[in-house]
């Protein structure tokens, strides 16, 4: 493993077809998976944040 070498990431990026110039892998956010995230969102209890009580941290 060589986590200190960003070049490895650039090599990975170059294999990404939708990359315009440099930068990390850009996903295609219009792909069909969007439907399943909306389904997951619909399952969220609308009252969940009201039930979520925490104590003050730092």
């Amino acid at each position: 493993m060589d986590m200190n070498d960003p070049l490895r990431r650039e090599e990975k990026r170059e294999s990404t077809p939708d990359r315009e110039d440099s930068g990390p892998t850009s996903p295609d956010t219009s792909r069909p998976g969007r439907d399943s995230i909306l389904k997951r969102m619909k399952k969220v209890d609308p009252k969940q944040s009201e039930k979520y009580k925490q104590r003050t941290g730092q």
């Binding site: 990431r9 996903p27 009201e50 104590r55």
Partner: protein
């Protein structure tokens, strides 16, 4: 490696709740979570004797640290519990050099000290995996998916818990220089570092409907303070370097958000490190001074365009985008070409600011607040909801859930809808192995090889039941690490 900022680390306090009981007890649940950790570690051996959180960087001691009245009452109740302090803290030091324990009823994962940004981000994500695995094992014991853990900073009712980014910096430059150079940068880095929050919790000021950039902005009340639970500052003044105090300070930044996007963590920590290098080398020219930085933190958070006008002490106004561009231009001039990691950060910093200005929708693949903006807007449209509908805050919370079956960011990751920074194998490696070339590597190796011989352990050293102690307070560079290991071959045959 930056000579000005040789080491960095991130502390993350996680939110925790048990859903199958009427009242979830965070003390019990945090303890149970930590007790379920199966990662090789040293348990309940943290050397608190080396800590002093009451010393202020401005040159004085405070008698005590403050917390609000509600937390005072909780703590009074905690003292009646049948547990010792050690039992409640459940301190672990892991074989990867990280610390994992309970801090103010929140499971906290503190990464090992890292000397590169990508190394640090891999360890931050490794922390998510370790915490999520503890939750899975705890739920296995309970026979149901009752315990949920969140990498966020608020319960939407005024209780905040932190994600602190830490940078080792030289002592020789006066603290005032760091403050003057950093404040406008920190006030505005939320443009790309904010995790996004639906609604607001600032009881002293105007409320906000809709999504704001930052989870933490509502809780920032002053420019400088040693406090972390009340009067939270833009720059924390706790003087606890965890290294030779004559040579180093630890800059302890508590205003940041917990990011689900590793890209965003890399950009946040990377840009901050480059600005610190600029200040440390005294290359920051014409520093901007804002008239009211504390109010600006909130104003920046509530304007997603980056174009809100902020007043300068010298007169006139400037926008958050312009402030970031001033820093970026100077960093680019000073540091471009130094190394590939630096170039990546400068390039991505530029790309992100440009997209925020001209095509902000493009940020929805890598910046948490922008991902939420797109996701929640689609959902609002589909369900006909207003921004103040409680369902939106519940979705906001679920975005940060570490459960792969429930978390919204986890779903986006699985579907390939967000920027991927690391192969999973690299993150798995970081759950097991410490970062190379750092003093955390020595700590991690000691946990892996000398676990049963460790009497106590800390950022700055290890004491053994048998054999001389290791002092890591002067071990900062990879050369220091190599020298230390070479000098200990007689004591530790496995080196």
């Amino acid at each position: 490696m930056s000579s000005i900022v040789p080491l960095m680390g991130i502390e993350t306090e996680y939110g925790i709740i048990r859903e199958d009981v009427e009242t979830s007890d965070p003390v019990e649940e945090s303890m149970a979570l930590l007790q379920r950790c199966e990662v090789p570690s040293v348990f309940r051996a943290w050397a608190y004797k080396h800590e002093n959180s009451h010393l202020d960087l401005r040159g004085f001691n405070v008698p005590s640290l403050a917390q609000d009245e509600e937390e005072d009452e909780f703590c009074a109740e905690d003292r009646k519990r049948p547990y010792s302090y050690w039992e409640m803290k459940c301190d672990r030091v892991l074989g990867n050099g990280a610390r994992f324990y309970n801090d103010h009823t929140h499971p906290e994962y503190t990464t090992p000290e890292c000397n590169s940004v990508f190394q640090l981000v891999a360890h931050d994500v490794a922390g998510e995996r370790i915490v999520a695995e503890c939750a899975r094992l705890r739920n296995q014991d309970l026979g149901q998916n009752a315990v949920q853990v969140f990498k966020n900073n608020t319960d939407y009712s005024g209780h905040s818990y932190g994600t602190h980014d830490n940078f080792l910096i030289p002592r020789k430059l006066p603290f005032e220089n760091w403050v003057q150079g950093l404040v406008p940068f920190l006030v505005t880095r939320q443009l790309y570092a904010g995790a996004g929050k639906v609604g607001s919790e600032n009881r002293k000021g105007p409320s906000h409907t809709g999504l704001q950039l930052s989870q933490r902005a509502d809780f920032i009340e002053t420019i400088l303070s040693i406090e972390t639970m009340t009067q939270r500052p833009i720059i924390n003044t706790r003087d606890e370097p965890h290294a030779t105090p004559e040579k180093y300070r630890r800059l302890h930044l508590i205003l940041g958000d917990a990011n689900m996007s590793p890209y965003q963590t890399a950009l946040k920590v990377g840009a901050t490190r480059l600005v610190l290098s600029l200040i440390g080398e005294q290359k920051l020219h014409n520093p901007i001074e804002l008239e009211d930085p504390v109010s600006a933190v909130k104003r920046v958070s509530r304007d997603k365009t980056g174009k809100v006008l902020l007043h300068r002490i010298t007169g006139g106004t400037i926008t958050p985008l312009e402030i970031q561009q001033v820093y970026l231009d100077q960093v680019e001039k000073h540091a471009l070409g130094q190394c590939k990691e630096t170039d990546w950060i400068i390039h991505e910093w530029r790309r992100t600011l440009t997209e925020l200005e001209y095509s902000p929708e493009k940020l929805a693949d890598r910046i948490d607040w922008a991902i939420k903006e797109k996701l929640f807007s689609e959902f609002r449209e589909a369900e006909g909801l207003d921004w103040d509908d409680p369902w939106l805050q519940s979705l906001d919370l679920e975005y940060h859930n570490l459960d792969p079956e429930r978390g919204l960011y986890r779903a986006l990751e699985e579907e390939g809808n967000v920027t991927h920074l690391f192969p999973e194998a690299e993150v798995t490696e970081a759950t097991r192995q410490p970062p190379e070339g750092t003093r955390a590597m020595i700590r991690g190796m000691m946990v892996q090889h000398e676990k049963d011989n460790i009497k106590n352990i800390h950022w700055t050293g290890v004491e053994f039941k048998k054999g001389p102690a290791l002092d890591l307070s002067e071990v900062v560079t990879p050369a220091d690490v190599e020298h230390m290991l070479n000098s200990k071959k007689e004591q530790f045959a496995w080196i």
